[in-house]
C-alpha cells in the first residue's frame, strides 16, 4: 500500500497537509522546509511546482511561484533537490502544479522521476477527470502515483461519486468557490457542506483545503473531514520568516496543538 493510504488507515487524529512552493523563499530552501515541516509533526507535504500562470491560485501563491521561477527553479532542478529526499523524509509527499510543465518534461519521464525520488502522488488542478482518464491515468498508475482530485461546493453528487470511484488516497475538498488564499475561516455553511459530503459514505477520505490558516480553522475543518490543507498562510510565513526552521516547526506545532 502507498504511504498516503497507510497514513489514513493508521491515524485517528486530524491529518495536517501543508503546501510549500518549491525553491521558496530561496532557491536552495526546499529540503530545509521539508525537514522542518516533518520535524514539527506535519502529516503530508505538498510541494508546489512553480508555474508562470497559476490560474487556480490567489496572489500569495502566485507571487511565491514568480519569485521561485525568477530564482531559476525548474522541474529538472526540483527533482535534483529531491534526489535524496527519502533519506530524511518519511511522511507522504505530493507534487502540486499545473499540467503544462509536466507535458514539456514528458509525462512518462515525469512520473518515472517522481517514483525515483519517492513522490507519492500529484495534484494538478488543470487536469480534470475526463482528460486524466483519456490520456494520463494508465501512466500515473504504472508508476504508482496517486492523482488527487478536487471537489467544490458546486460539484454535483453524481460527479463526486465518479471522482470517488477513480480516486485513491484522498479527495481534496475545496471549502468554497475561490482561488487559493482568497478567504479565511470556515463558516457554518461550509461546515454543513462538509457534513453533506461526509454523509455520502464515499470510499475515500477527504481533506479540506482553501481558507485554513490557524488551529481554529484546522479543527473546524477536521470536524467534517479527515483533516485539512494549509497553503497561503504557510507561504506567507515562508516569505516573512527570519529564522526559517524554527518558525516552520513552531507553526506546525501550533496547528497540531503540540508544545
Amino acid at each position: 500500500m502507498n504511504r498516503i493510504s497507510t497514513l489514513f488507515k493508521s491515524t485517528q487524529e486530524p491529518i495536517l497537509n501543508i503546501y510549500a512552493t518549491a525553491g521558496y523563499p530561496n532557491f536552495g530552501d526546499t529540503m530545509l522546509v521539508l525537514n522542518a515541516l516533518q520535524e514539527g509533526g506535519v502529516d503530508i507535504i505538498e510541494i508546489g511546482m512553480p508555474y508562470s500562470d497559476p490560474v487556480a491560485d490567489g496572489e500569495t501563491i502566485q507571487q511565491s511561484n514568480q519569485v521561485s521561477l525568477d530564482q531559476g527553479m525548474t522541474v529538472t532542478h526540483l527533482f535534483d533537490q529531491l534526489k535524496n529526499m527519502r533519506q530524511s523524509i518519511s511522511v507522504p509527499v505530493l507534487l502540486m502544479g499545473y499540467i503544462n510543465p509536466v507535458l514539456q518534461f514528458g509525462v512518462e519521464r515525469f512520473c518515472q522521476k517522481c517514483q525515483e525520488v519517492g513522490v507519492d502522488g500529484l495534484i494538478l488542478p488543470d487536469l480534470p477527470l475526463a482528460e486524466y482518464q483519456l490520456s494520463y491515468q494508465s501512466i500515473f498508475e504504472q508508476y504508482g502515483l496517486l492523482n488527487i482530485f478536487l471537489i467544490t461546493p458546486q460539484t454535483s453528487d453524481e460527479r463526486i461519486k465518479q471522482i470517488d470511484a477513480v480516486s485513491e488516497g484522498f479527495i481534496y475538498m475545496v471549502s468554497s468557490a475561490s482561488t487559493t488564499g482568497a478567504k479565511t475561516g470556515i463558516s457554518s455553511d461550509q461546515e454543513a457542506y462538509f457534513k453533506r459530503i461526509d454523509n455520502m459514505n464515499l470510499k475515500n477520505p477527504r481533506l479540506v483545503g482553501f481558507g485554513i490558516s490557524d488551529r481554529e480553522s484546522f479543527i473546524k475543518a477536521s470536524n467534517g473531514a479527515s483533516g485539512a490543507i494549509i497553503g497561503s498562510a504557510f507561504v506567507k510565513l515562508l516569505g516573512n520568516a527570519k529564522n526559517l526552521r524554527e518558525e516552520i516547526v513552531g507553526f506546525v506545532k501550533s496547528i497540531k496543538g503540540l508544545k
Binding site: 488542478p125 488543470d126 480534470p128
Partner: protein, 400 residues
C-alpha cells in the same frame, strides 16, 4: 491541398486533431459543463436565432459590406476585396461574439459578466452588450494595455463597466485572461465569462467560431453577387487568438479551392526574442483551458510575448488554428511591427480606410503572397484604427 479524412470541426470530446480539450480546474467544471451540454441546443433555438440576427442587423449594422479595393488591387496587380468588419458597431468583429454570448448568458440564467481584453475591442464590445442587456460587467485588462489603448478604457467606463488592471506577469492579454478566469472561479454561480476569441476550454472555441461564422456566411453570397462565384482564391486574416480568422475561414474550411492565409504578429521579428508569432515559435502546450500551440520555455513556463498590437500580443492561438497550421490547411505568415505599420499607412492612403493595427498585419501579407492578377482575395478587415491613433501618431511621425 486538403487531405481527405482530416476534419476541421470540433470532435465530440472537444478536439481539433491533437488540439483543444477542456483543461480547467474543478471549480469551473459545473459552468463549462453546463455550457458544453447546452450551447448547441440554445444557439439553434428559433427564438435565439431570431434575436441574434435581429441584433446583428439593427444594433451591429450587419451585413457589413464586401468592398472592392481598386487601388490596392492595382498596386499588387491582383483582385482584392475588403470584408468591412471595421464598420460593425464598436469598430471591430468582436461584437458578433459578444452579442451571441450575452444571449447565451441570459439562457444560462447568469446576470453578471466577466471578460478579458487586449486591445480593448473585446472589452468595449462586451461592455456594450452588457449596457444593452442591463448586466453588470467587469473587464480585466493588462496594465500595459490600459496605457496603450486609453480611448477604449474610457469607452468601457462610459458604458458602465468596471475596468480592472491586471498587474501580474507581462501585464498584457495573457495576464488579463488569468485574472478573468480567477474572477470566474471566485464567482461561478451568477457570472458568465465571455471569452473574446476562439480560445479557452471546449466548447468556447467552437461557440465563438460559430458566432463569428456570420462573416464568411456573408462573404459567400456577397462574392456570388459580385463575381459569380461564392469562394475566393485566398482569405486573409490576422490571428491573435484567432476569432476573426475563424469567422472568415469558417464556411471555407472544407473548400479546397480557397487558400486560408493567417497573419501572425512577429513583433520585432521571430528571431529577436520580441515576438508573438505562435505558430513559428510555439510548441504544443496547455494554457487557459485548452491544448494548443504555445510560446513557452523548455521548462513549460509561458513566454511573455511582444507585439506593437495589443490584440495580437498573446503567447497562444486557438486550437482550431493550431490544427490548421500543423495540418498545413492554412498558411501562416509572420508580419513585423514595421511591416504592419507600412500596411496600415498604405491602406489609409490608397483606400481611405484606417485599419486597426491587428488588421494591418493581414494587409501586409500582400507583399509576400504572390497572388496572380485574376485571382480573388478577401481580407477580413477586422477593425478600424481609431484606438491605435496614438501609436500611429508616434510611429508614423504624424506630428511632424
Amino acid at each position: 491541398m486538403i487531405d481527405a479524412g482530416i476534419s476541421f470541426h470540433v470532435s465530440e470530446k472537444g478536439y481539433y486533431g491533437d488540439f483543444g480539450g477542456a483543461f480547467i480546474p474543478e471549480m469551473l467544471y459545473p459552468n463549462v459543463e453546463e455550457l458544453r451540454l447546452h450551447y448547441l441546443e440554445y444557439m439553434m433555438e428559433p427564438s435565439f436565432q431570431k434575436e441574434f440576427h435581429f441584433l446583428l442587423k439593427d444594433f451591429v449594422g450587419r451585413p457589413t459590406p464586401l468592398f472592392k479595393a481598386e487601388r490596392l488591387s492595382a498596386k499588387y496587380n491582383t483582385q482584392i476585396y475588403l470584408k468591412r468588419e471595421d464598420l460593425c458597431h464598436t469598430g471591430a468583429h468582436k461584437v458578433n461574439n459578444t452579442i451571441g454570448q450575452i444571449l447565451m448568458a441570459k439562457r444560462l440564467g447568469k446576470h453578471k459578466i466577466v471578460a478579458e481584453t487586449g486591445a480593448g475591442q473585446h472589452g468595449v464590445a462586451t461592455a456594450t452588450v452588457c449596457a444593452l442587456m442591463g448586466m453588470e460587467c467587469i473587464i480585466y485588462m493588462g496594465a500595459i494595455d490600459i496605457d496603450r489603448q486609453a480611448p477604449n478604457v474610457a469607452r468601457m467606463k462610459m458604458l458602465g463597466a468596471s475596468v480592472v488592471a491586471a498587474q501580474s506577469g507581462s501585464k498584457t492579454l495573457k495576464d488579463a485572461t488569468n485574472e478573468a478566469m480567477r474572477h470566474w472561479i471566485n464567482h461561478p454561480v451568477d457570472t458568465h465569462y465571455i471569452i473574446g476569441s476562439v480560445v479557452g476550454p471546449h466548447p468556447y472555441p467552437d461557440m465563438v467560431a460559430k458566432f463569428q461564422s456570420v462573416i464568411s456566411e456573408e462573404i459567400k453570397w456577397q462574392l456570388q453577387e459580385k463575381e459569380g462565384r461564392d469562394y475566393p482564391d485566398y482569405i486573409l486574416a490576422c490571428v491573435g487568438g484567432g476569432s476573426n480568422a475563424a469567422g472568415a475561414f469558417y464556411h471555407y474550411l472544407d473548400e479546397p479551392r480557397t487558400a486560408l492565409i493567417a497573419a501572425e504578429a512577429a513583433g520585432q521579428g521571430i528571431s529577436t526574442g520580441h515576438s508573438a508569432a505562435t505558430t513559428f515559435l510555439g510548441k504544443p502546450g496547455v494554457l487557459h483551458g485548452s491544448k494548443s500551440l504555445l510560446m513557452q520555455t523548455e521548462d513549460g513556463q509561458v513566454i511573455e510575448p511582444y507585439s506593437i498590437s495589443a490584440g495580437l500580443d498573446y503567447p497562444g492561438i486557438g486550437p482550431l488554428h493550431a490544427h490548421l497550421a500543423t495540418s498545413g490547411r492554412a498558411k501562416f505568415f509572420d508580419i513585423t511591427d514595421d511591416e504592419a505599420l507600412d500596411a496600415a499607412l498604405e491602406c489609409s492612403m490608397l483606400e481611405g480606410i484606417i485599419p486597426a493595427l491587428e488588421t494591418a498585419h493581414a494587409l501586409a501579407v500582400f507583399g509576400k503572397l504572390g497572388a496572380k492578377p485574376d485571382e480573388i482575395s478577401v481580407v477580413n478587415l477586422s477593425g478600424r484604427g481609431d484606438k491605435d491613433l496614438a501609436t500611429y501618431q508616434e510611429k508614423l511621425k504624424l506630428n511632424q
